[in-house]
Symmetry: C2
Subunit: 253 residues, 2 copies
């Protein structure tokens, strides 16, 4: 069973304080992952967000997913902050016996006119050899724009396709997609359902936010779940937790 | 003019002392590169060796280009040492105004039955955007072997082909290929010339050493030069320095 698991930056860091790891949360998440890999010889790719490591420096450098820079010092400032967080995640996993190895998007990915290019040959080889690749939101080269921010969510969508993941999980600090009454939505299977659940204004905001994320996940070939750390074990064991997003019956492929 | 330049680990570090940068040599080499890029808007890829950063840890972990490991901690130990040296090279170049950005082979390359796979899309995009990618010898995943050492020389050969480099330079602490009389050989254009110059026993040692390096370079589509730091400026300006290895007239392609 091949799984792509995203750990949100808000799960791993204290977002309000620059470069501060949420130690308790990191340890809890890594305990859960290590225990799962002890129970099951799964093929697991981990992607994590930037939290207070990436966003702080990206904002200071004026970088976003569309606003780029040709300043190599800005590129390495953001990149190294993300690598520092990644090193912490790798260490916490290795301390628990997980064969975690780092993958830096800046080294392998770029954005061209055709969109994100993220060759997954090295990742595929890592999985075949029993390693657990751990990659992250980063800054990547962007045609005619210098370098821009690549979000962890965009990496998840790309790798879910190229690695033919059977399970996709996004673990953040919210327990799922929340409807107007504050309840977790069990399942979303179409674009129409997104609008119905999130309300028209949020659903039409395609530049970001939950609606954009749900729409990207609906287009995948496998179900994706949005859940919080309390449901991580359930997701790893069953492939279903929080809100299950599965557009396979309602989306033309 | 697209150039792939290898900086030997022996140029950048004190090989006998673990993790010690040769500051004077690093500064001299970076001064020369920065001055060249001020004179000419060249497309330059830099590859560096491991010197006392990589070799020390690789040996301690029992790793070589053929002896692998499935131990993720060993992988990250060697990888991080190489990244630490790369960070120093990047910093020294950026301080001189060079738009240097890092490329980690572990993230992008692997060895399969078909040999080294090193997709160069991100590197190509970096060059197009005016960055100077700086990559390095590293540990990479190796089919059925876990992870093994990838030498800077093997990266040069791979990138020279995939990036269609017009100039290839290997800057080490020797001024070129040295013949039996201790003289620098001006040019080598065939396998036979290698044996004649280096003597039969060295020339048939295909597992490593100068003969192996020369044979790889003879098979490329562009001339390659082996020279020392004193000739780096000459190489960058003219594409010819030390020993010029050019097998295009004598090698079947």
């Amino acid at each position: 069973m091949r799984t792509v698991l995203k750990l949100g930056g808000s799960v791993l860091t204290h977002k309000s304080e620059p470069e501060t790891v949420d130690e308790a949360s990191l340890e809890q998440v890594c305990d859960t992952i290590a225990a799962f890999l002890d129970r099951e010889a799964a093929s697991l790719v981990i992607v994590h967000g930037g939290g207070s490591f990436g966003h702080h420096h990206a904002a200071a450098c004026g970088l976003s997913t569309v606003a780029g820079t040709h300043d190599a010092t800005a590129v390495t400032t953001v990149h190294r902050a993300m690598c520092a967080l990644n090193d912490r995640v790798i260490d916490a996993l290795q301390e628990r016996g997980v064969s975690a190895v780092p993958v830096r998007p800046l080294s392998v990915a770029h954005r061209s006119e055709r969109g994100l290019q993220f060759p997954a040959g090295a990742l595929e080889a890592m999985l075949e050899e029993g390693f657990v690749p751990v990659t992250h939101g980063d800054v990547v080269v962007h045609e005619r724009t210098g370098a821009t921010v690549l979000s962890g969510d965009d990496i998840v969508v790309s790798l879910a396709r190229s690695l033919k993941a059977e399970r996709i999980g996004l673990c953040s600090t919210v327990p799922g997609v929340i409807d107007d009454d504050g309840e977790v939505v069990d399942a979303i299977d179409s674009y129409e359902a997104v609008a119905a659940v999130l309300g028209e204004s949020e659903a039409t905001d395609v530049t970001g936010g939950m609606a954009h994320k749900v729409r990207q996940l609906l287009a995948l070939e496998s179900p994706a779940c949005i859940f919080d750390p309390a449901s991580l074990e359930l997701f790893l064991d069953t492939g279903r937790a929080g809100t299950v997003i599965d557009g396979r019956e309602n989306t033309a492929h």
